[in-house]
């Protein structure tokens, strides 16, 4: 079966914003709850990989990415049923040709969130 694909620029916003919804438009929290989490759930149901393309946006804040990806593995009010770190890392493929360094950083966010060493960055 073909993997599921998401492009943040096309499926969410060309200008990703802050961490939380109240901080401003196009937040990481909004992206995770409306796009990323449902897509990953769908990928889990179908048993396929989820490919996320970070290219094409105006640029990312670290808080947006941490809340989006780290938030998948973290249990809180907006995410009562988090994914396991291993599941996320095995079933997500991140494409970032414009800024390759984000791939390792995002993996670090997922690992830290899962270990609950670091819950909220600010």
């Amino acid at each position: 079966m073909e993997p599921l694909k998401i492009s943040i620029a096309k499926d969410f916003s060309g200008t990703p914003g802050p961490r939380y919804i109240w901080e401003g438009p196009d937040s990481g929290e909004l992206f995770r709850t409306t796009v990323l989490y449902p897509a990953l759930k769908e990928a889990q149901r179908k048993g396929v990989e989820l490919i996320i393309n970070l290219d094409g946006t105006a640029g990312y804040g670290t808080s947006f990415l941490e809340e989006s990806f780290g938030g998948l593995a973290r249990k809180d009010d907006t995410n009562p049923d988090p994914f396991n770190e291993k599941f996320i890392l095995d079933n997500i493929q991140i494409i970032s040709n414009e800024e390759e360094y984000w791939i390792d950083i995002i993996k670090g966010y997922i690992q830290e969130a899962n270990n609950q060493q670091y819950v909220k960055s600010y």
């Binding site: 802050p18 939380y20 901080e23 401003g24 804040g61 670290t62 808080s63 830290e112 909220k120």
Partner: protein, 410 residues
């Protein structure tokens, strides 16, 4: 015959006497006679009493008016500045005078500029009207524009009088004029707002302010910067990251400590300010960004991080690990991202401030300066030191040029 001759002589004599009598010198003599002097004295006394009576009536009418309209006056006095109570017939605005630094550049003259900002802040907190003397200012740097405009807008938004003199130096005056400073100064119906824009689309300097993390706005600013450098609108992701980190810092600290997810009350929201200016020297084009917020500064906000945050007690962790000599040394370690995340063992880079330093290390931004609390950091010159004065807020300055990585907009 003899009688007729005498009569004719007498007639001729009186004829000449009459002519002579009508001349000015004779009139003057008449005017100075005792009878006329007394008349003039009496008239002067009458006029004097008339004027006194008129003045007395004027004051009496005023007192009657005040007695009738007491409530309205008290309300009026509360809403207006204090000086109205001094002289009700002729109210004057009592200004507190402040001299602007001769070299108005935060990066080069941080001591005097910090003292200037602190003085203005004191007056602002006490709601004093301020008159800034720019007469002797020789140089106004682009980083000073954002300070001046942010101060002006804050005063105007709170309806506190803010005025000043023009700089005698024409270059400095032109810079201020181009920034929209005088336009905003003269504006009467200034209202408090969540966002501001000063200058114009085509001016060399434009200033923006917001209370949220507005990535769309920062993207528009960067697109315009790209058009100046590369003659077309482009995306500049690394600089957008820097922008978002700074906006996030400003907005974050205004939030309540306990529940970061709850909405912040409007009164607690703080503006961030950024002035963008365009420089062209020969064939080299660059765009300068001066970002400022009047929060509590980086160090104070680090001391107030919640327990669940990685940044919780970060200063203690840095002290344990690196034993920095002072806050400037601590900032150096924070920016470098040397402190590693305990679970992954990876350097704590790509998060907040270290991300800004990383953009500089990768030559995406240039001439990076950070001034916060009592720390001055010129990252491009690798200079970190303590200032003798305290700046409550965060100031960051950086530039981009043709070597900054950018991408086409699809």
């Amino acid at each position: 015959m003899r009688d007729i001759f005498i009569f004719l002589h007498i007639k001729i004599f009186f004829y000449f006497v009459r002519i002579h009598y009508r001349t000015p010198s004779l009139m003057k003599n008449v005017y100075q006679t005792l009878k006329h002097t007394k008349f003039r004295e009496k008239r002067a006394i009458k006029e004097k009493f008339k004027r006194r009576r008129f003045r007395f009536l004027k004051i009496a009418r005023l007192i009657l008016y005040l007695a009738k309209n007491k409530k309205e006056i008290i309300k009026f006095r509360k809403n207006k500045s204090r000086s109205i109570s001094r002289n009700l017939t002729n109210p004057q605005i009592d200004y507190h005078y402040v001299n602007a630094p001769v070299d108005f550049s935060f990066r080069k003259n941080y001591r005097e500029v910090t003292a200037f900002i602190n003085k203005i802040k004191t007056h602002f907190d006490k709601k004093h009207n301020v008159y800034v003397r720019f007469d002797h200012v020789i140089n106004i740097d682009y980083d000073a524009i954002v300070i001046l405009l942010s101060i002006l807008v804050r005063f105007k938004a709170k309806k506190i009088h803010f005025n000043g003199t023009y700089p005698r130096n024409t270059v400095a005056a032109e810079k201020l004029k181009g920034s929209g400073f005088f336009q905003a100064l003269k504006q009467r119906d200034f209202k408090e707002s969540k966002n501001y824009f000063l200058g114009s689309e085509n001016s060399i300097i434009s200033t923006h302010a917001e209370t949220t993390v507005d990535s769309k706005r920062s993207n528009e600013i960067l697109k315009k910067a790209a058009k100046f450098i590369w003659n077309e609108e482009r995306r500049i992701p690394r600089v957008q990251t820097v922008f978002i980190e700074l906006m996030q810092n400003t907005v974050d600290h205004a939030a309540r400590k306990e529940h970061k997810r709850t909405k912040v009350h409007d009164n607690d929201k703080r503006h961030w300010w950024v002035s963008v200016s365009y420089k062209e020297i020969g064939q080299n084009k660059s765009v300068c960004f001066a970002f400022i917020d009047y929060g509590v500064g980086i160090f104070e906000s680090l001391k107030n991080k919640p327990e669940t945050s990685f940044w919780y007690k970060i200063l203690d962790k840095i002290k344990e690990r690196f034993n920095p000599k002072d806050d400037s040394d601590a900032l150096k370690h924070i920016l470098s991202g040397e402190l590693r995340a305990t679970s992954t063992g990876q350097p704590f880079r790509g998060k907040g401030l270290p991300g800004i330093k990383q953009a500089f290390d990768n030559e995406q931004i240039f001439n990076l300066h950070i001034i916060t609390n009592n720390v001055y950091a010129s990252i491009s010159e690798n200079k970190y030191f303590l200032m003798p004065c305290d700046f409550k807020g965060t100031f960051v300055y950086w530039e981009i040029n043709e070597s900054t990585t950018s991408f086409k907009i699809e």
